[in-house]
């Protein structure tokens, strides 16, 4: 496992996630993150030899929260929805690399419930929505031992700075 993980996303997609959270408030929103996972390990910007695994989000696949019973503090994506999202990703030459959801009136921190239900490898973006207004947005990956999440740095990048076939390591 690399020392740190980074998630690249354009400003407009980040804004769409925040808007989805505001739209469904006071209920939780959810959706799939479609993109590419870089197998390349990139040098850190500081040149200290630290390694970063980068992953880029290129499309969103908003979903309906299936938790009718407690949508204010729970979200659920069924296996059928997962397959639909995977199909949509494949059609665009992408893959499902993670999921986003909102925490209405709560911080953008993963809960114990989030951890207990999380899969490894996926990126989990959480947007805090306070009184209907989107606030902080964070991203997390479950550790191999399932004991806790590690934060994943979200880097807002212009789409033009990301090459069509992979990652640009020079532009920000």
């Amino acid at each position: 496992m690399a020392d740190a993980a980074a998630l690249w996303i354009s400003g407009s997609l980040a804004e769409k996630i925040r808007a989805h959270g505001a739209e469904t408030y006071p209920h939780e929103c959810c959706g799939a993150l479609l993109g590419r996972d870089s197998s390349a390990v990139l040098e850190s910007d500081h040149g200290k030899g630290a390694l970063t695994l980068a992953r880029e989000i290129l499309q969103l696949f908003p979903l309906v929260n299936r938790r009718d019973d407690s949508p204010r503090n729970r979200f659920s994506v069924t296996a059928e929805d997962v397959l639909t999202a995977e199909k949509a990703a494949r059609q665009q030459g992408l893959e499902v690399v993670g999921w986003y959801h909102s925490h209405p009136d709560h911080p953008a921190r993963p809960s114990e419930y989030d951890r207990d239900h999380a899969w490894p490898w996926y990126s989990y973006i959480i947007v805090s929505v306070q009184n209907g207004a989107p606030q902080d947005m964070t991203s997390w990956r479950l550790n191999d031992d399932r004991a806790e999440f590690s934060p994943e740095g979200i880097e807002i990048r212009h789409r033009a700075a990301v090459s069509a076939t992979g990652f640009s390591t020079t532009e920000k």
Partner: protein, 124 residues
């Protein structure tokens, strides 16, 4: 012809990056047993500590959800495909419990505390 087990993206790092594996197995439980013996790191992501399939792990034999068949005792025959399909869940815990590393948890607790305890008044 053996049974083919399809491995979803999030579990491939624990299965030698493979997207499928083949085993001779008479039931779903047997196939998953072979899978987690060959790739031991998969076990904790598929099963709880007491050996039950995790609630967000969905297993299909061909197109049938094993919950509606005989669960892990569902028989398999040569040529069948077993698919492991994730479902995704989460949400806030009203108690404010978090699942993040120590420092982040500490910062979060501090922030929470500052919300609960109003700032001290300064003398007029």
């Amino acid at each position: 012809m053996p049974v083919k087990v399809m491995i979803p993206s999030p579990l491939r790092p624990y299965a030698g990056k493979r997207d499928s594996a083949e085993f001779s197995a008479g039931t779903v439980g047997e196939a998953l047993g072979h899978l987690t013996t060959e790739f031991a790191e998969l076990r904790k992501h598929l099963f709880t500590e007491d050996g039950k399939l995790r609630s967000f792990v969905n297993v299909y034999v061909n197109d049938e959800d094993i919950r509606y068949l005989a669960k892990e005792n569902t028989p398999t025959k040569d040529g069948d495909t077993i698919s492991i399909i994730p479902s995704i869940a989460g949400g806030v815990t009203f108690s404010g419990a978090v699942a993040v590393p120590g420092r982040a948890a500490l910062n979060f607790a501090r922030n929470l505390w500052s919300l609960i305890v109003p700032p001290r008044r300064i003398g007029i």
